[in-house]
Amino acid sequence: MDNTVSDSANPGTVPAAGFWQGARDTLPMLVGAAPFGVIFGTLASTAGLQPWATMLMSILVYGGSSQFVGVTLLAAGASIPVIVATTLIVNLRHALYSATLMPHVQRIAKPMRAFMAWFLTDETFAIVYHKIDSGEPVRVASYYMGSASAMYGNWLFWTAVGIAIGHSVPGIAGWGLEFAMVATFVGIVVPLLKSRSQVAAALSAGAVAMLANGLPYKLGLMAAAFTGIAVGMAVASVEGKRA
């Protein structure tokens, strides 16, 4: 795609979309992420994480689903290595995003790319990729950072609000807020179940997760994840041979 102009290039008659356009296009995502920021902040407080630590997690990890899982595991008494390993698995999908955007960031200087990568999330990927895909002229680095800045500021703000709520509303731990994580994950997985191999991956992962639920340190989660990946690949390769 050739609509991706570099920041220094003259964009021509139509001004290419830049920082502010990126921030503006991200607005709907900000509204969607707000309640999750609040719920994360609240959950983290009830899981026993100090306010500074909760804030630091949003600043340094900046990955909503992994942070949700992290504090849920923490509340369940999982050990640090288990939580870190789970974080890695939950965030592996970002490698797919960076692979997809690779052709469009190739002309951006490496230090800038390294900076941009810090803010790669589901939302910013979706917004930036959609813009590039539309064929409209776009200054990728500026547009990306516009979206990323809006998402990052939004996430930190709503995390802080959630921390305040978690500390001021008594009994909020019993409200079942962790269901927000369940709903989010169900909502992410359902559209992925487009092929037999994806359905097989989900079924086998779910079954192993149930059978291995009694294992210590949440090892069942790892076992289930690897089983699901292996079964998905196996079914795809059998189908590929048949076709």
Partner: protein, 103 residues
């Protein structure tokens, strides 16, 4: 305090390399790895959700009074029919809250 720092730094230390790795390297993932990555979200998220929903207070809770189960089914149904993530999450949350209040 030290263990909390370790936890957060550890989580960040496995997250950032996944985001930046390809952009600093040759920008190419081996074919097999790419195939495996396609199943990661499905396998991981399902493995987290299924026991969370079906096991309540250390017991299998496969019945219609399980608010998480009903809420998750509603979310799944809405997203499947409408492809709209936020409606699905919102609908699931409302039904979950309602169920918890009713039963």
């Amino acid at each position: 305090m030290i263990s909390t720092l370790l936890l957060i730094v550890g989580m960040a230390a496995v997250t950032y390399p996944v985001r930046v790795g390809l952009w600093l390297g040759k920008g190419h993932i081996p074919h097999r790895l790419k195939q495996a990555l396609a199943y990661v979200p499905t396998a991981v998220l399902t493995a987290i959700v299924v026991p969370t929903v079906l096991i309540q207070h250390d017991h299998l809770a496969l019945d219609w009074r399980n608010a998480q189960l009903i809420g998750a089914l509603v979310t799944g149904l809405i997203v499947w029919r409408t492809r709209h993530l936020l409606w699905g999450i919102g609908g699931g949350l409302v039904v979950f809250g309602l169920w918890q209040w009713l039963f």
